[in-house]
Amino acid sequence: MAENSIVLGMADLMVVPAPIKLITLGLGSCIGLVVYDSFAKVAGMAHIMLPDSRGLSAAEKVGKFADTAVPALIEEMLKKGATRPRIKAKIAGGAQMFSLPGASAEFLTVGAKNVNETKKRLARMGIALIASDTGGNKGRTIEFSTSNWMLKVKTLGKGISEI
């Protein structure tokens, strides 16, 4: 059965019932976080931009920061029928697009910080992270299939892998 596709933009967060394909294009330092419950047949994705909301205003999109996106995504999953022990997570992204030897700028390494914070938040909520493709210096486009629960990761010059 063909899956309809939904493309998530920056800071978007969404939970959908199968069969729908969730897509995020051109992740650089951002993270594509996928969570799913294959029994309840629901899956969610968030396009996380930064690690820590540092208590920023509530008006910001919850998907923007790892510390707000992870709890919001899990809560949404539970509302749609998932149960916490069955939820599994996969992540991709968190590259460092430019390395400038000798330059000290916090924002250049935001990719690695996004990865760490996302992993930490998942662990804190007791969600199993079963696959990841993170770091490096190349952008990624990701597609999550709710038919086989696989995350397809496309990297320029390296081709496609499935995790």
Partner: protein, 212 residues
Amino acid sequence: MCDVASFNEQQLDAIREVGNIGTGNAATALSGLLSRMIHMDVPKTELVSIYELGGHYGDPMQVVGAVFVRSSGGFNCSLIFIQPEEDAQLMVELLLKQQFGTFIPYSEVPQDITDSALTEVGNIVLSSFLSSINMLLGTQYQISVPGVAHDMLSSILDVVASIYGQMGETALLVNTELKVEGLEEGRKISGHIILIPDPDALGILLRKLKVI
């Protein structure tokens, strides 16, 4: 820290003038390097939603070549020189032909050499930009070693989101398009120079320009 959304026309115009002076100098440097005339568009000061950066400069999935530098000192900022990948390749071919006298297709040159050529062009263009704007502002500055990347436009522009995302949802960018003229029929080399002031340097910038 300034809220970029509250900037008035006069302030945005003054910032645009900084872009004008920077790009003018950068275009002169590029022209000297390639021995070609350079057409320069009128710079724009743009307030862009950080959620829409990917699509703002074209197709988010378009492959681009980009050179990035960081400048610190009296006015902290980052600069990026971004070109469609084909344009960057053509520019490297043109440069190598001038250096060595013979044409060598891009695909036959090892990547460390093409990247080094691309980085050097970016470095010269962006250093010229920085030297003129710091002269205008009367500020001292240091420039980082340039970084180079070939990737999807939207992944490259994540760097802007990571600079502006922590303080809000809007980025202030000064963007100018350059085009190399006098190329063979059907060929094109264009590029954008984008100035990304640090959010906490915007106040300094406005004060230096006497529009605050």
